[in-house]
Amino acid sequence: MAEITFVEAIREALTEEMERDANVFCLGEDIGRYGGAFKATDGLLDRFGEARVIDAPISEAAIVGAAAGAAHYGMRPVCEMQFIDFISCAYDMLTNYVATARYRAMLPCPIVVRGPSGGYVRGGPFHSQNPEAAFLHTPGLKIAYPSTAEDAKGMLKAAIRDDDPVLFFEHKYLYRRIKGTMPAGDHVVPLGKARVAREGRDLSIITYAATVWKSLEAAEELERTDGLSVEVIDLRSLLPLDDEAIVATVKKTSRVLVVHEDTVTGGIAGEITARINQQCFEWLDAPVRRVGAHDVPLPYAPPLEDFVLPQTSDIVRASRWLAAY
């Protein structure tokens, strides 16, 4: 089979799921005739019609709320946030209504809220965000953040079939830069399971999304220059977190670097560090260290964005520190 891009993989997943299940429909701004700001839904309108590919007003709270209502009555809505930054406008609806629906009122709420996230694209403070950590302490939600085209497709299909609400983050830096060959047939990748992106013995890098690729670059360089064997874990799902995979790599290397694009303070690395302390403290030969963005809103000028965000060279330097520890 031919290689396709990350965003094409998203489109394939949507198309296949809409073909498979008549209850699946898409809802969002400019997703119909225009096909979405990043063309993720391109062609869906012609194929499935206006009833199943709905151009919504600029109303993120209504888009998510309407999806929830439809889900209560058997539909499987997939909402697009034009940029994930605008999910903040649906924060109340997601954390208070959607996340609690099943628990407080036995309401089924199988919705997917997806959209382009992340930086490294000169998007500035409002088109580059990574809001995942803001939803981490909301029981009832699931969070997926794939890094490969294969996972993008397989996990989105899993998310649409999941009986719980799923926030699905798609890193826009990867949309066209990352390609993959889709496995034949009904390719579904289960939520909640991490992936060993690279095997290693000396040091573990636990990460997700765009920084998976930067970590792999760093790992190669460390192998070349320092003869270090670095393992890279791609979490893929952030809620629930794959504790087994985390514990396994810690017990294997005893040195852990947690890397993400979100700010260091309040980012998910804190949660991961705590879980490691809890489950395999004795195996640590060095403190768990974090590499993330500096604690500032993301500026847009290239020299500023490059300075604020974690780069491959940062991961290399931090890894050397851990290895030398």
Partner: protein, 366 residues
């Protein structure tokens, strides 16, 4: 998009049989009697949490819900006990929920009348955040439109909730999509302590309809037949594919926001005047015994019957078992079905060995 204001002395609605006219009375009386019982239980501290009354607003709740069929979906708020009863909620469920019993509809997860049933009776469990139910009901009714099902939705908002962004986004979304939805603004004059004049500069909340390109109707919310008539018309519009209608029902909140509220902010005499001259139950009794020639004795019999129902429901609810702590971990997700219990609740001593590192140094001398 004409906005019409209807007057009280409109003819009784077509198609309501004598039996139905009596039913309307039964629902209003049941609402009031049940709430009075809840007040007694509240004073005995058997109610957990706050108690919200709809005294004086029973006609809004009952008359509007009565215009729906069982397959139609209703989204109630805290003043809509009557609507939920009409839609099939049982007094026993209400009492168990208010008393936080283990067999309450939400198994103790939620309070007062925050519960629902989307499988059979079709009313949706509300959340506290005002306005949020409007987008949700836009989605429920969008589903009926997509599937071509002849079903309708009805969502309530208070005068105060019309100020929320969620109300605006939800009603606009439903209007553009021509969803089969009726939006009922129950204008009872106050949002907690805030009079409607501080909630909006508009004289009439129904004036918002034009901005959404939908018809708006304002009606006397204390005239149950009038409420039924205007709601019924809006429901038929929705079912016929003509989209959303905004109804503003004029009524008055005679009790505080909740039982604890002393209403010190209400101008003297205001409550008394409404109670004396514009009580929806009194008005309907006069209409039934007058216009419709129902014998007072027949209504008295209904009152007794309702008291008996509420008495036995109370006894049954009181005898129900409390909630069971560990049940709190169930049902957050479809999968996993249960959340893990935290480490420090178990036998913590046993936790230490798990932490020993087989082939390494230990620090248990610490």
């Amino acid at each position: 998009m004409a906005v019409s204001t209807t007057s009280r002395d409109a003819a009784p609605p077509a198609g309501l049989s004598r039996v139905q006219l009596i039913e309307l009375y039964r629902w209003m009386r049941l609402t009031r009697t049940l709430e009075e019982r809840l007040v007694a239980l509240y004073r005995q501290t058997k109610v957990v949490g706050g108690l919200f009354r709809s005294l004086g607003q029973e006609a809004c709740a009952v008359g509007s819900a009565f215009a729906l069929e069982r397959r139609d979906v209703l989204s109630p708020l805290i003043r809509n006990l009557g609507s939920m009863l009409v839609k099939g909620a049982e007094p026993l469920e209400i009492l168990r929920q208010y008393m936080a019993k283990g067999n309450s509809p939400t198994r103790g997860r939620e309070l007062n009348i925050h519960f629902g049933d989307v499988v059979d009776r079709n009313f949706v469990g509300q959340i506290s955040h005002l306005g949020d139910m409007v987008p949700v009901m836009a989605g429920v009714t969008l589903t009926f439109k997509i599937r071509g099902e002849p079903r309708v939705g009805l969502v309530y908002v208070g005068d105060g909730a019309t100020s929320t962004g969620a109300f605006h986004e939800g009603i606009n979304f439903a209007a553009v999509q021509r969803c089969p939805l009726v939006v009922v603004v129950e204008n009872n004059g106050y949002a907690y302590s805030t009079p409607t004049s501080r909630q909006t500069a508009a004289d009439r909340l129904v004036d918002k309809a034009a901005g959404y390109g939908i018809p708006g109707v304002r009606a006397d919310g204390n005239d149950v037949l009038e409420v039924y008539r205007v709601t019924r018309a809006a429901v038929e519009n929705a079912r016929a594919g003509r989209g959303v209608t905004l109804l503003e029902l004029m009524t008055y909140r005679r009790k505080g926001h909740a039982e604890h509220d002393s209403q010190s902010y209400v101008p003297p005499g205001e409550i008394e005047t409404w109670a004396a001259t514009n009580d929806p139950v009194d008005r309907y009794i006069a209409q039934l015994t007058g216009e419709f020639g129902v014998a007072p004795a027949e209504l008295a019999a209904i009152d007794d019957e309702i008291r008996t129902t509420v008495d036995s429901a109370t006894d049954e609810a009181e005898s129900a078992p409390p909630c069971d702590g560990p049940d709190a971990l169930r049902g957050v997700y479809a999968d996993p079905a249960e959340m893990p219990i935290l480490w420090y609740r178990g036998d913590v001593a046993s936790a230490v060995p798990d932490h020993e590192r087989p082939a390494g140094w230990g620090t248990h001398d610490g």
